[in-house]
């Protein structure tokens, strides 16, 4: 009798979980999104906070569900689920202004943490392209009040024109830039709402700067958004925090992104390592990405097998999480049996045909690097080398990488279609663009065509 009851309970819970995460045909846009919205109160761990979360909280308070099964039900992050969580959750569901949300993110050491953020999030300051672009993809550029660097005139054109340039660089926030930041905070009636940065840039948040933010009550939100899959989460969470149209756009963005992830996984998910296409990632033209770099993580998410896994010499030479500059044009000469080389480049868009041709020739294949053209460093691998635009939405990058790795399964037209889908979505950085105006994926045939 007891066993039978237990079986029934398990089946019911499993069915409910499946309905939540896989969809029950009720038309919700993000049913395939699982465990993505990084906000406490998202009890069912889906793409939004709504009445379904409240039902779980009610059940936990009533004792019919266990808190340990739904840790995100603790909306106020005080270690227990009670009436105060219910009150806060209702405010979140009502999208009540002034509500303090507990947002999950990383701390400067890379550990999970929770920071308090007032809803809706306004007056943000962004640092690092890998965080700035997700803000813009969530159409949050209007809420940026300060930024440390902006390198892409068109892609980052939706940054609020009134936002203050804090005069940092992609590599450094100087003391003078930090002072400008503090003056910006002092000059705003409600102060800076949050400081947003990508984890790869976290070295610039020194202990004293962290102390400044803590003392001023400015939440520091860090996500590892250089990784394509994590960027999806970042956009979804930021969209929710900005609220209104940003939230609905971010849900659509995340849904489309996870559809791409699922499409790739359905083809390559069951492949063994030996069946997978091997790749080497590069960045900044001639820097070889090391094993644990986020560029490799993205290529692996697209179904590739890092070449270091099949060539131990390459694996040991390029271990680590950074990148190593090629010291000569011979650097890859011993690794000619790799299937593809994915060269990650950050390239602005809005290009005419002539500008595109110049970019392909002068800024990609024939770019001078230490007295040699880039193509010289990839001698023998030209046919298998592809430039992928690093500032595209994460899912679009994954789509082009899937095409590069498994061209028979994922055609260029399919990848272009994904890009078109994101253009049509209405995300600000891609507004007014076409597939032809964006340098998304450049291969050797593009180079030969441009030269001809």
């Amino acid at each position: 009798m007891i066993v039978a009851a237990a079986v029934v309970v398990i089946v019911v819970i499993a069915a409910a979980a499946a309905a939540i995460t896989r969809g029950g045909g009720d038309g919700d846009p993000g049913e395939s999104i699982a465990s993505q919205l990084q906000i406490m109160g998202n009890a069912n761990d889906d793409y939004t906070i709504d009445d379904k979360d409240m039902e779980i909280v009610d059940d936990i308070i009533a004792g019919t569900k266990s808190f340990t099964d739904y840790p995100l039900a603790d909306a106020n992050n005080d270690g227990k689920v009670d009436a105060s969580d219910k009150q806060l959750l209702q405010d979140i569901i009502d999208r009540k202004s002034g509500t303090v949300l507990r947002v999950m993110c990383l701390d400067t050491s890379g550990n999970n943490t929770v920071v308090d953020v007032e809803y809706p999030l306004r007056n943000v300051v962004t640092y690092a392209t890998n965080m700035q672009l997700p803000v813009l993809y969530a159409n949050g550029g209007q809420y940026i009040v300060g930024y440390f660097t902006s390198s892409y005139e068109v892609a980052e054109g939706s940054i609020n024109p009134a936002a203050k340039d804090l005069e940092g660089s992609s590599r450094e926030i100087s003391d003078a830039s930090w002072t400008l930041f503090t003056q910006l905070d002092a000059g705003l009636d409600t102060g800076v709402g949050a400081f947003l940065t990508d984890y790869s840039a976290v070295a610039q948040i020194t202990a004293s700067r962290q102390a400044d933010l803590d003392a001023a009550g400015i939440p520091l939100i860090i996500y590892p958004s250089a990784n394509a899959a994590d960027e999806i989460t970042t956009v979804l969470t930021l969209g929710f925090l900005f609220g209104g149209d940003c939230e609905s756009l971010a849900v659509e963005y995340a849904q489309a992104s996870w559809d791409v992830v699922n499409a790739i996984d359905s083809v390559v998910g069951d492949l063994s390592d030996s069946e997978k296409t091997t790749y080497i990632s590069c960045t900044m033209w001639i820097y070889i990405c090391e094993g644990d770099s986020t560029y490799n993580t993205t290529a692996t998410d697209a179904g590739g097998n890092w070449y270091g896994n099949v060539n131990s010499g390459f694996g040991s030479t390029y271990s680590g999480d950074g990148s190593t500059k090629m010291q000569s044009v011979e650097a890859l000469s011993n690794y000619q049996d790799v299937d593809v080389v994915i060269n990650n480049r950050s390239m602005d868009w809005g290009l005419t045909a002539d500008e595109m041709r110049d970019l392909i020739i002068d800024d990609c294949w024939e770019k001078d690097r230490d007295g040699y053209a880039v193509k010289d460093y990839f001698a023998g691998l030209e046919e298998n080398m592809y430039f992928v635009n690093n500032i595209l939405p994460g899912a679009v990058k994954l789509a082009y990488m899937a095409h590069i790795l498994y061209g028979d399964d994922f055609s260029m037209e399919w990848a272009d279609g994904i890009l078109q889908q994101f253009i049509d979505m209405g995300t600000a950085p891609l507004e007014g663009q076409t597939v032809d105006s964006i340098p998304a994926c450049i291969d050797h045939s593009d180079y030969l065509d441009a030269k001809a």
Partner: protein, 351 residues
């Protein structure tokens, strides 16, 4: 005679007061230079309020300015004062015990030893101690700086040490460590090379309150000891024969002075990198005005050294935040050149 003595005292007091006023002024300027909207007098007001007044409203301009001044500007300025004072004292002491106007705290190879220690930590991650990270570099630099001093102590038991011997030994040690540093730097990547090079130049950037106690203890205690030895240093300045005839055990005294100077200098450069010219120029500037009596030269050199460092640091910040070591070299060499020419023209001697 009495009037001349009185004028001499007045000159010393005036120079000391002038230096102290300028130090206060430049501490304020350093604090305010990074903060638009906060004036010089407001800076002093903020400092006063931080010590004795009410806290400002969180997030307000004065609240941020207060944080900046106390967390960044003040440790920076105090480090400049300590570094300038310590190096100037060491310079004055070295010039006296070596009877050589060109001697400075780095004459015995301390800077190259510190360089090797720090750069081996930066380039190879090699630590002489169990301390790692930023403090690992500091520890390495301190230990590296002490190597030449220990070598001199070791050799002094075996050979007769004259000032010339000491300086030649320092030169030999410097060549050795410099070659090792060069090897490390040419075999590393660009980013590490830049870090190593910047350390060599010398900078006060990134100074925090936690850096100061170590520097302060050695500077204050060391300077006090040097001041107590001022009369003996005066005797040493007269030359070896005179000092011996006046009962000074020159070998032992010189050795004690070298060890003291090595510890004081190492305590500074291990945090700041190599800050040149202060130890050379500050004592000469002081002697130019008040003469060579070390009872006055030592404390005055501390004040002038601190002031020179603050001025250089202020200029370094004004000129696109370049490291202070660059400014010290730029202004130190012509100032020193002018001093030599002027002094030579006036008295026929440079010391």
């Amino acid at each position: 005679m009495k009037a001349e003595y009185r004028r001499g005292i007045l000159l010393k007091v005036a120079m000391l007061v002038f230096s102290l006023i300028c130090i206060v002024l430049f501490v304020g300027l350093l604090s305010v230079s990074n903060y638009e909207g906060v004036g010089l007098m407001e800076t002093y007001q903020i400092i006063w309020n931080h010590l004795f007044g009410e806290p400002y409203e969180t997030g307000s301009l004065y609240w941020w300015a207060d944080r900046y001044i106390w967390n960044t500007a003040m440790p920076h300025a105090l480090a400049a004062i300590l570094a300038g004072a310590a190096l100037a004292v060491c310079g004055a002491m070295m010039q006296s015990i070596m009877t050589n106007p060109l001697a400075d705290p780095y004459s015995t190879g301390i800077s190259s030893g510190a360089c090797f220690g720090a750069i081996s930590a930066i380039v190879m991650g090699l630590s002489f101690s169990t301390v790692v990270g930023e403090m690992g570099i500091v520890t390495n630099a301190f230990i590296g700086a002490m190597v030449p001093a220990l070598l001199i102590v070791f050799l002094s038991q075996r050979i007769h040490m004259t000032p010339a011997t000491l300086i030649l030994l320092g030169t030999a040690v410097s060549y050795f460590f410099n070659s090792m540093v060069t090897y490390l730097m040419v075999t590393t990547d660009v980013d590490t090379l830049q870090s190593a090079y910047l350390w060599q130049i010398g900078s006060l950037d990134g100074m925090t309150w936690s850096s100061l106690p170590f520097m302060a203890v050695f500077t204050i205690a060391g300077s006090a000891i040097v001041m107590l030895m001022a009369s003996k240093l005066n005797v040493m300045s007269l030359g070896e024969n005179s000092a011996v005839s006046l009962g000074v055990d020159i070998q032992s005294f010189r050795l004690y002075c070298l060890i003291l100077m090595a510890v004081m200098t190492a305590a500074i450069v291990s945090f700041t990198g190599i800050l040149g010219f202060i130890g050379l120029v500050a004592p000469h500037l002081v002697r130019l005005v008040i003469g060579s009596d070390n009872r006055f030269v030592i404390p005055m050199s501390m004040a002038v050294g601190a002031l020179l460092m603050l001025v250089s640091d202020y200029l370094a910040f004004q000129f696109a935040s370049i490291p202070v070591g660059v400014v010290l070299s730029v202004i130190g060499s012509p100032v020193f050149f002018a001093l030599i020419v002027w002094q030579n023209k006036r008295t026929g001697a440079i010391y």
